[in-house]
């Protein structure tokens, strides 16, 4: 295989990966997973006793999976306009995610110390907080852009 063929093969594979979407019913599965996980989060917080830290981490990951399914599943009427809007929403999510990760720790630190003297120490955001924010922005942007298309 010559160099040109290898490049074409890689380009096609990358294009296939970029255009990959799950079937439309995965959106509903994602919603169901998200709703069940949020209910479970409330149950864990208010009705369960003992060391449930492992469950908290498990639920966080499940929520991320649910929202990812919603994000990458095909639209009911998928065409070139919805593909463009989806790409725009990913761009929005990425940019706002970076800004959120940079600014939010200072906001939390500032508010905490303003509300009660000697509040929390400065700490960076966790991966869950950033990822959930980005997924939320992506889904909200996509549906808003779709509504105004």
């Amino acid at each position: 295989m010559n160099k040109q063929k290898i490049m074409n093969c890689e380009r096609n594979r990358l294009e296939k990966l970029t255009n990959f979407r799950l079937p439309q019913y995965f959106y509903k599965i994602g919603i169901a997973i998200g709703v069940i996980t949020i209910i479970m989060m409330f149950v864990r917080a208010f009705a369960m006793e003992g060391d449930t830290e492992w469950l908290k981490h498990l639920l966080q990951k499940t929520l991320l999976i649910g929202m990812l399914l919603m994000s990458i599943s095909r639209d009911k009427e998928e065409d070139e306009l919805t593909i463009k809007l989806r790409m725009q929403s990913y761009a929005w999510a990425f940019i706002t995610g970076v800004i959120y990760a940079l600014v939010m720790p200072y906001v939390e630190f500032g508010v905490s110390n303003a509300v009660h003297n000697g509040g929390e120490v400065y700490k960076d955001l966790g991966d869950f907080q950033i990822l959930i924010f980005m997924l939320m922005v992506q889904l909200m942007c996509y549906h808003t852009l779709k509504r105004y298309r």
Partner: protein, 66 residues
């Protein structure tokens, strides 16, 4: 970019939904194109050209700000 898709559609007596189904997009996409909110791809423009039986230049025109 300006277009006269609405006129071409009226000549063929097609609704937005009919046209959308014929070229495989959603009705909202046709609406966005007609309202000049979205510039379609070359593939879509050629599909429209085939359907209207006219060259793309006849119903898509560059505007002054393009």
């Amino acid at each position: 970019m300006e277009n006269t898709i609405k006129v071409e559609r009226a000549i063929l007596n097609l609704t937005q939904d009919d046209l959308a189904k014929k070229i495989g997009v959603s009705r909202q996409t046709i609406n966005s194109i007609e309202a000049n909110r979205y510039v379609p791809s070359t593939v879509l423009a050629l599909k429209l050209s085939q359907l209207f039986n006219k060259p793309v230049n006849d119903f898509f025109k560059l505007s002054d700000d393009d």
